[in-house]
């Protein structure tokens, strides 16, 4: 038998929420009556007493003095004898089951109530309203792309550049390449004496600051081993907690995945941030390593924590992240600069990471690695990425130094072609930023939309490859003011969604504050902001002005010019030394770490 329900909008104006609920209840077969929102308590009580209602459903937002009104209303219903037959339900903003009970109602529902919760209650059924676990699937970012070049002239130039580079690197190797091969043998052997021999050999190819750490536990300042007790406590924490009522950032399936950086220095802190961020809907993380790691030959071993920025890239640390992050969460490990690029990719693959980060050009500019060294190490790294079937993302952060966008994008495209030739899938990472070259040349004086859109459109016309703006989006538009930082992130995310990109990396609202580590509350700020932006956008799009078309044409023609100049040099490193992909005027200098360390004989371990 259908139940009679009286819907009471106990609000001077609004009854839209209750109208929606009533409509759902009618469809379910309940017999509902809806009162108008402007009735007095006396009139409502009278109506409630005129029919045998099973439930009185009251909608009211809690505010000043409202508790008193509701209390009076309950008294009136009591006096009218309504309570003897009807159960009273209170719903609305700021309502909790406890508050409803305190006010004399039989049940209370807050603003996040789902209609099924209410129906289950009305039908006297139990419904488990608490969802545990992330309830999502792992995504493959590269799945729907062919990696076909759509611009024949650019494809031809890239072919020439990459063939020349691969021939150039063939007869060269480095200690970085050799260490990766030793490490691989170490991973594959269970023989203790062989392991000792390989470790000795490995450490002989490291700088003392690394070998001292690995052999004597004399670590760089601020680094220490994580104690077994801390690992046990971490395990207890992660295994005893569970994401409650998980949220999804994307409003539809077309919206990009959202990544965040992790790299507080401490894997335990990273994991606590990571687990909380997962619940708020983050799809993946990039592990950021300490800046000093790029300067030293060799990587430290063990579970290690670091008191300064950047989490140490050890096999154990990456495994720890993989072990405790949700299986659906994507993890990428940064390998794009420094003297340990091949080994970093190997360790990422061996630890089960999903992606890695390689860019032979950006990694060779500004405080980076020597271009020749990174060319050799980078090619080896891409080969490891291919072997582990790990796509590699190519950060275009050289734009932040002042490098023009077309030079940065030309560099990204070289990496895509290299990946294609070596069997690895690349992901383009153009910046969504207010970079120095853009500022100086007024490309964003009118808006932040056109030039960012033009970069994406230009790349789309060149190659069928995933695009992941970063890194993070809104770089140099965010201030230390919390709301502005969240807004800037959300606007850029909305633009990214509008342009149909695959992934974006977002910062936190304390990104511009450089005097301390990122806080979890600030991470949640931008996640919420982006979630709202995606809800706001849905399938709608932002419409760039005609200027975006001009920028797109200009960017493509300048990419061609840059690539032709690169091709005219005898190798990619020489082109980088000569500033073709970023010169001193652009604020880019060829890196010096590892200069003169290449060897010409094939390694024999």
């Amino acid at each position: 038998m259908s139940k009679n329900i009286l819907c009471v909008p106990l609000d001077p104006v609004h009854d839209v929420g209750l109208k929606l609920i009533r409509s759902a209840l009618d469809k379910r077969g309940f017999a509902t009556d809806l009162l108008s929102p402007d009735l007095s308590l006396e009139a409502i009580s009278k109506k409630a007493a005129q029919k045998e209602y099973d439930f009185i459903l009251v909608s009211r937002t809690i505010g000043y003095g409202v508790a008193e009104i509701l209390g009076r209303f309950i008294d009136m219903l009591d006096a009218a004898g309504v309570r003897e037959q009807a159960k009273l339900i209170l719903g609305g903003k700021a309502i909790t089951p406890e508050l409803a009970a305190e006010l004399g109602f039989d049940k209370g529902f807050g603003e996040h109530m789902q209609i099924d919760d209410l129906i289950a209650y009305l039908e006297g059924k139990e419904r488990d309203t608490v969802i545990h676990g992330l309830q999502r699937e792992k995504q493959d970012i590269t799945e729907s792309y062919t990696y076909r070049f759509l611009h024949a002239e650019i494809e031809e130039i890239l072919n020439d550049i990459c063939d020349t580079l691969l021939a150039w690197t063939e007869s060269r190797y480095s200690n970085g390449v050799e260490r990766a091969r030793i490490r691989e043998e170490l991973l594959n052997t269970g023989d203790k004496s062989q392991q000792n021999h390989l470790r000795e050999k490995y450490n002989s190819l490291c700088e003392s600051v690394i070998s001292d750490g690995n052999t004597k536990r004399l670590y760089p300042a601020g680094v220490r081993n994580i104690s077994p007790e801390e690992l046990t406590a971490l395990d207890e924490y992660v295994t005893s907690t569970n994401p409650y009522a998980p949220l999804k950032i994307q409003h539809n399936q077309k919206h990009p995945l959202i990544f965040k950086f992790l790299g507080s220095g401490c894997p335990i802190m990273d994991l606590v941030h990571g687990k909380i961020s997962e619940r708020w809907g983050i799809n993946g993380f990039l592990i950021i390593n300490p800046s000093w790691e790029a300067r030293y030959e060799g990587l430290l071993e063990g579970y290690l924590t670091h008191e300064n920025d950047g989490t140490v890239t050890s096999l154990e640390n990456i495994k720890l992240m993989k072990r405790y992050l949700d299986p659906t969460t994507l993890l990428t490990v940064r390998a794009h600069r420094g003297l340990n690029t091949p080994e970093t990719v190997l360790l990422a693959g061996a630890a089960g990471a999903d992606l890695t980060k390689i860019n032979l050009v950006y990694g060779s500019l500004g405080a980076g690695t020597d271009p020749e060294r990174l060319a050799v190490d980078g090619v080896e790294a891409i080969k490891y990425a291919a072997r582990f079937n790990m796509p590699f993302d190519i950060p275009g952060n050289d734009e932040l130094s002042g490098v023009p966008a077309w030079k940065t994008l030309a560099g990204l495209l070289i990496n895509v072609m290299l990946g294609k030739k070596l069997g690895a899938k690349a992901i383009l990472k153009p910046l969504f930023c207010y970079g120095p070259h853009i500022v100086l040349n007024g490309m964003m004086d009118q808006n932040f939309v056109d030039f960012n859109a033009a970069k994406i459109r230009a790349l789309r016309q060149i190659v069928d490859c995933p695009i992941w703006p970063g890194e993070p989006i809104a770089f140099m538009t965010q201030s230390e003011e919390r709301v502005q930082a969240a807004n800037a992130t959300s606007y850029h995310a909305a633009l990214a969604a509008s342009l149909g990109v695959d992934v974006v990396t977002i910062a936190s609202t304390d990104e511009a504050y450089s005097r301390g580590p990122i806080a979890i509350a600030s991470r949640i700020d931008t996640i919420r902001a982006v979630t709202d932006a995606f809800r706001f956008m849905g399938d709608a799009t932002i419409n760039p002005t005609g200027k975006a078309d001009d920028f797109t044409t200009d960017i493509i023609s300048k990419i061609i010019e840059v690539l032709k100049e690169v091709r005219s040099r005898k190798s990619l490193p020489e082109a980088i030394y000569h500033g073709i992909l970023g010169d001193e005027e652009d604020g880019a200098y060829p890196g010096t770490f590892g200069k003169g360390t290449l060897k010409k004989v094939s390694p024999r371990i």
Partner: protein, 81 residues
């Protein structure tokens, strides 16, 4: 693990508006506020004077990466459950 501060993952941030005559008084008051709230020296993340006062964002790091965490149940932290 009895103190609420032990449960702070990393920072306590405070956002408020302080009436003051200029930016430097605002800065002094912001730092004084941290002391009065028993947080010791706080960082001023953001401060903007508008003629009437300052809108400020203050931060105190309770747990920095790599240091013992009050919320992690280890004996070292006195939190062995």
């Amino acid at each position: 693990m009895n103190k609420a501060l032990d449960r702070v993952v990393d920072t306590v941030d405070i956002e408020t508006y302080l009436l003051c005559k200029d930016e430097s008084e605002g800065k002094r008051l912001a730092l004084q506020l941290g002391e009065e709230l028993n947080l010791g020296t706080v960082d001023i993340m953001f401060q903007e004077f508008d003629g009437y006062g300052v809108r400020v964002r203050l931060r105190k790091y309770i747990h920095k990466p790599g240091k013992p965490y009050g919320w992690l149940s280890t004996e070292e932290n006195g939190n062995n459950k």
